[in-house]
Assembly symmetry: C2
Amino acid sequence: MRILKKIFSRSRPEEGGIFFGEIEKIIGFRPLNIEGYTMAFTHRSSNKTDEKGNPISYERLEFLGDAMLSSVIAAHLFNQVPSGDEGYLTKMRSKIVSREHLNELGRDLNLIRFVESKVPTQHFGDNIHGNIFEALVGAIYLDAGYPACEKFINARVIAPYVDIPKLEGKVISYKSLLIEWCQKEKKTFHYDVFEDNGISGERLFGVKLSIDGKVVAKARAVSKKKAEEKASHRAYFAFQEKINTK
Amino acid sequence: MRILKKIFSRSRPEEGGIFFGEIEKIIGFRPLNIEGYTMAFTHRSSNKTDEKGNPISYERLEFLGDAMLSSVIAAHLFNQVPSGDEGYLTKMRSKIVSREHLNELGRDLNLIRFVESKVPTQHFGDNIHGNIFEALVGAIYLDAGYPACEKFINARVIAPYVDIPKLEGKVISYKSLLIEWCQKEKKTFHYDVFEDNGISGERLFGVKLSIDGKVVAKARAVSKKKAEEKASHRAYFAFQEKINTK
């Protein structure tokens, strides 16, 4: 709380200020106890300690969040792919919780804007995004237990990103899948790309994908190509039934 | 169910026979659905398949159980050792879920007696014990969810075995700790060792540890030394308060 007041002293300080509201939006429920979330965004360089002198930083929460991610994803794959053996399940999980993918998840939520650090956040490598994402999962576990963690991972990892055909390499590009479908269905499509640098100052690209003149999906990523693919993926899910049955 | 009837056709076939009752004793609650437990004890060599032709064996459940063990142990360590950093927590967890330790857990519960296999169980290596233990944890998750899993791991792994001072290498031998205490307190002690081969035909040793003529702990293990250490550990926990305060 002490830390929060310092960072976000502008509003509702009794609830942790802006941070409290923003975290609520991200995690999808009202935090019961803000402490773990504060820890999830505290970098070691802040040199904070608890009353017993133990350092406060997101690193321990990363360990916890990583474990929760692994078990929720394991259960999901186990249930979704009854034909997959142990080796297959292990491989699929490691693709889902890959460093690159976790970084993408953290970056998409722009979690870095909350980080308290004595080192400027621009100096961190790419992995800070994934590390903070894992720490956030750990904080959710501490705050509200396994079911809340499961719900968050379902909403923020599995539903938008876990795509078994693509992970298996059966679908290489959603953009080509979507274009093919549009051509077959005689629909027009347009990718509107723009630079969108966000708060953190990173170079990012935004994409709006329109079909028949209507925006059907938006996405943001580090490259134009990735943003287009992400938007196509989202559109694909929106149209999945139509695409598969035609 | 079909498989169970074949293995354990002697009693209560409508409930899965002896197996049902034995599993209940081991897991500490009445199974809601016996199917997962059957799978946890089916070796690949049985060549069973489900109605869709997917092979039934404990290997996929091992993957699931391993994930559940990792996350329950992670949460336990996170809460118990607030001073431990990420590296420490990772190291401690890998000691707890080491192959050797999992094998010991499975062997202690004599899980191998339930295994259905075309290969004689004596031909399996040591790892079968740990693999089946992991699969059992996976089956508990399928049957009754994460909280049941957590409860089982607490009762069967954490409470009897997870001993942070020993894992940290601060306590090397509970036998020497106990002997030292007996000598200081002028108590007599006696380790009564006997061969105890159990149902599976493995060579095992049983130990009864008496203090002042009264049996205070029993244990069974693959070597005399291990059985003595295990009995000492159990006695240590029974006497912990006395030993630490004197």
